[in-house]
Symmetry: none
Amino acid sequence: MLLELDLESERPLYQQLVNAIIKGIATGELQPGESLPSVRMLAQDLGINMHTVNKAYHLLKADGFLHIHRQKGVTIASVLPSADRAFHEKTRADLEPIIAEAVSRGMAEDNFLALCRSLFAEMRAKRTAKK
Amino acid sequence: MLLELDLESERPLYQQLVNAIIKGIATGELQPGESLPSVRMLAQDLGINMHTVNKAYHLLKADGFLHIHRQKGVTIASVLPSADRAFHEKTRADLEPIIAEAVSRGMAEDNFLALCRSLFAEMRAKRTAKK
Amino acid sequence: MLLELDLESERPLYQQLVNAIIKGIATGELQPGESLPSVRMLAQDLGINMHTVNKAYHLLKADGFLHIHRQKGVTIASVLPSADRAFHEKTRADLEPIIAEAVSRGMAEDNFLALCRSLFAEMRAKRTAKK
Amino acid sequence: MLLELDLESERPLYQQLVNAIIKGIATGELQPGESLPSVRMLAQDLGINMHTVNKAYHLLKADGFLHIHRQKGVTIASVLPSADRAFHEKTRADLEPIIAEAVSRGMAEDNFLALCRSLFAEMRAKRTAKK
DNA sequence: GTGGTCTAGACCACA
DNA sequence: GTGGTCTAGACCACG
C-alpha cells in the first residue's frame, strides 16, 4: 500500500496516517487480518519518527480497526468496528460545519450529494478493481 | 444570534466561532450586510479572549464572509463567497476521511446521504422559520 | 496531594501515576473539579519525564476521570465515570487470578473478604477525615 | 486440564500460563503431587515457545507451587505454599488499585464483596464437582 | 525482531 | 504558560 504524507499540512502526521489507513481499509487495499509494517519499518519508510507511527496505530487500535500484538506485530482487525450510534453522532458533528459552509456559499444540495456519491464510488472502484 | 462555545472541546475556540458564524449565515440568522458585535463586545459576551474573536473574524474576512471596517465595524459580506473550485476541492478533501471511515464501518451510502440531507433540511428549516 | 512513585517497581511509572490519582479520588484527596498540576510541573516534582505524566493523564482522560483543556490545564472530572458493566467485567477478570491464588494457598474466604473490607475502610477513613 | 491462552491479550503468555495453573490448583483440577506435561510437550500442545512454558514453570517453582525434577519431570507440590505474610501484603498491594477504582466509580462495598464471593464460589463449585 | 516504556529536548497552537 | 506534536535515541519484556 502506498502512503503519502504531507509534511507541510497543518494536520498532524499521525492523523494523516490514521486517515490513510482507514482509507486503505475502505478501498480494500488493506484487508481484514492483513499485517501492517512494524512501527519502526513504517517510520523508516515514511521518513518519520517511530512514535508518530505508534500513536497512529494506537488510535486505530482504540477505535477497533487494528490489533496490536507484542510479538506478531500489527494487523487489521478481522472484524471491523461498526457504524454505531457514537459514530453517527461524530459524523454528524463533523459534517455540520462542512454543510453549513456549503449552504452559505450557495452550493446546491444535489451538488453536495453528488460529491459524496463520487467519493463513495471512488472507494468502491478500487475495491472491485482489487477483486 | 446565540453563540455556544464548548470550552471543553478539542476544537480551538476561534474555529468554533468561525463555524458558528458560518452556520448562522447558512440558517439565515445572520443576513448579508448585517452588523456583528465588535471584537471587544463579543469577547466579553462570550467570556473569552479578544484575540480569539479577532482571529475568527479575520479568518472569515480572508474567506470573504466578513467585511472589517475600521470605523463601521464588522459586517456580514453583502455578497457571500461562492462555491468555487477551491471550495469544492477543500470540501472533497474534508469529506474523504469521513466517507472512508463510513465505508470501513460498513455504513450504507444511502444512510450517509440521508444524514447529509437531514443536515441540509435543518439549515433550511431555520431559514424558512425566519421568514 | 502526595504522590509516591517506585522507580524500581516493574509496574510502569505512568501506571503507578494512574493508580495514585484514582486512589486520590477514592480517598477524597482529589475532589471532582479540582485542578491537577500541569504535565511539566508534575513531571518536575516527581523527577520524571513530561511524556510519562502525559500518558497517565491521557489514560485517565480516556476513562473519564480527567478533563484536559488546552489552556486551563487538567482537572478531575466533575462527574466521575460509573461502575458500568465493562468495569464489572474488567474487575472480575482482575480479581480472578488473585482469588485463585488465595484459594490455592488455603486462605479462608472470610480472611480475603476482611482484607477487602479493610481496604474499603481505609479509603473511607481519609474521606471522612477530610470532611 | 484445558488451558486456554489468549494470544491477543496484553498479559504475557507466561503470566497467563501461571494464572491458569494456579486456577487449576484452586479448582482442584490439578491435585497436589500430580504430574504436569513436560516443557516441550506443553509448548507443542499450546503452540507456543518452549521458553515461555519454561518461564512459567520456574516462576511457579519459585513460589512453591511446583517441583521440577530433572528426571521425574514437573509435578504439583505435594504441600502447597501457604498464605503467609508476604502473600497477604502482595495481595493487599494488588487489591488496592482495584478497590480504589471501585470506590471512585461509586461501586458499593457490598457489590464488590458479592463479586469476590461469587468468584470464590466458582472455584469451590468445580472442586466439589470433581469429587 | 516486535512493541512497551522512558528520557530529553524542540517547536507550535492556543488563549 | 498550557497542552499538542514531533524527533532521537535508549533499554527492556516478550517469544
